[in-house]
């Protein structure tokens, strides 16, 4: 606190010279003049800091104690201001700088939209522009609440809008309303996605093209979107019935369930061999400068019989096309150990069945109902020591999908 006030009011460093300096100190202290950082330079001289406004009264004390003093250093705000007054351009420049930064920061420089998903940010920006929020607008004229209201009015798909400023950046945060998807009315066929045996056909709209018991191929039309125009009843009037064969296209809809078969196959050898990581690994670090490599840490040869490498290359980010030709290589070597599994024929068969069923079921959609599962072992063929199993899964599922004209 004392330091701050002494800086604000200014202080000077004096060099005193005289025979009775102690007298000078006591007199100054008793008159209420604070002295600080008092150092003895030699027998006749001492240096001391005193407040700027005390220099004048000290002259009297100096005269009465036969001391001479000389100002060695000036410090503090008053002297700084004095210097600034002499260097008007510097002060003006500093002031101009601060003003300019303040002025420039009171404009909106960019407008950003966050939180949008399906909405076009341009649409929101256009609404904001209409409300006055655009690059170049003065910040003090913009009311966030007003802009929020205007955007919410203009863009009905927005459930909530928040506008806030981050420096010279305006950020429009939006939360979209979940609008119900408009009903699909585009004309289409219902076609088959899979081959199967039709079990039931339920037509909601359109003309059925298949019946129960039919075998269908993928891509075959199941329910046609072409409907013959209804012929008005004969007694409806004098209007001429439309010519036969005139068709109207509708959005076909319906449910076509069919029996579908899936096949899977798996083979399991009685003896299996391979390699797996042992969990032990060694780290090697190297530095590449230009075309030369230097080892930094780790053993070059970890002593593993077999291993695989994981290599990580770190380089400094390149600027334009100037890259630093220094790379750090971190190589982790994982040891591999061999393994061997021998299975009994029963074990191998069990496993093959499991795998074959899994393979067959992998293509079955979640909505399908599984009717039957079958497995049959295929007699061992040429490579002996192999159990081969085929699986068949029968399901009942909706095979229709929309295909637009």
């Amino acid at each position: 606190m004392f330091r701050l006030t002494s800086y604000l009011r200014g202080f000077v460093s004096l060099v005193l010279e005289g025979e009775a300096l102690e007298k000078f100190f006591n007199m100054a202290a008793s008159r209420g003049i604070p002295l600080w950082n008092l150092r003895r330079l030699n027998r006749r001289r001492a240096a001391v800091h005193v407040p700027l406004q005390a220099v004048w009264p000290l002259r009297h004390i100096a005269r009465r104690t036969r001391t001479r003093f000389r100002i060695q250093k000036r410090a503090g705000l008053p002297f700084l201001l004095l210097r600034l007054r002499r260097r008007r351009m510097l002060a003006g420049g500093a002031f101009l700088f601060v003003t300019l930064v303040y002025l420039l920061s009171s404009f909106v420089w960019s407008v950003e939209v966050v939180g949008h998903q399906a909405l076009d940010p341009q649409e929101i920006l256009a609404a904001a522009r209409e409300a006055g929020l655009r690059p170049g607008a003065c910040r003090w004229r913009l009311g966030a609440a007003e802009i929020e209201g205007r955007i919410a009015d203009r863009v009905p798909a927005v459930a909530w809008v928040g506008v806030h400023f981050k420096g010279t950046r305006a950020i429009i945060e939006v939360a979209e309303r979940k609008l119900p998807a408009p009903a699909d009315v585009r004309p289409c066929h219902i076609v088959s996605t899979k081959s199967g045996l039709i079990k039931e056909v339920l037509v909601l709209r359109g003309t059925p093209r298949v019946a129960e018991g039919d075998v269908v191929e993928p891509g075959q039309v199941l329910i046609s979107g072409e409907v013959p125009v209804a012929v008005p009843a004969p007694d409806a009037g004098t209007e001429r019935p439309p010519p036969p064969g005139e068709l109207r296209r509708v959005h076909a809809a319906g449910l076509v369930r069919a029996r579908v078969w899936y096949k899977g196959y798996a083979e399991v050898p009685l003896v299996e061999e391979g390699e797996r990581p042992s969990g032990r690994s060694a780290l090697v670090m190297g530095l590449r400068i230009g075309n030369r490599e230097f080892a930094l840490a780790g053993k070059r040869n970890p002593g593993y019989l077999r291993y695989y490498e994981e290599k990580l290359v770190k380089r400094l980010p390149a600027w334009r096309n100037l890259g630093v030709p220094v790379e750090l290589h971190i190589i982790r070597r994982h040891e591999l150990v061999p393994w061997r599994i021998e299975r009994s024929p029963a074990e191998a068969r069990e496993m093959a069945i499991q795998k074959a069923l899994e393979a067959a079921l992998s293509g079955v959609p979640a909505q399908a109902r599984i009717l039957e599962q079958q497995v049959n072992e295929i007699p061992a063929g040429h490579p002996p020591g192999l159990v081969r199993v085929g699986a068949q899964v029968e399901t009942l599922e909706d095979i229709g999908t929309e295909q637009y004209f």
Binding site: E22, F25, P34, L35, N37, L38, R39
Partner: protein
């Protein structure tokens, strides 16, 4: 002298009885020594002599001498004095 001694004793008694700090009642200096780096002398009567190895301060009837090296008077006020440096000793005379 006897009169003065008596007054001194009465004052000391009163200070003890009223639990007042003695330096206030008896006009004694209060000296705070911080490690071997700082000595604060309150209620002094003026600097008698100041050199880099020795600061002599008048405290009423007696005199305090701070011995040390590179002694600097950090603050000089009418009521307190702050001496800094490498203090080696403090004596009364």
């Amino acid at each position: 002298m006897a009169w003065r001694d008596l007054r001194h004793r009465v004052r000391q008694r009163m200070a003890d009885f009223l639990e007042l700090p003695r330096e206030v009642v008896l006009d004694l200096p209060k000296i705070v020594v911080v490690g071997d780096v700082q000595v604060l002398i309150e209620n002094h009567r003026g600097i008698v002599a100041y050199g880099p190895d020795q600061v002599r301060v008048s405290v009423g009837e007696r005199e305090v001498t701070v011995h040390g090296r590179e002694l600097v008077l950090r603050h000089v006020r009418s009521e307190e004095l702050l001496v800094e440096g490498r203090i080696t000793g403090l004596s009364f005379r």
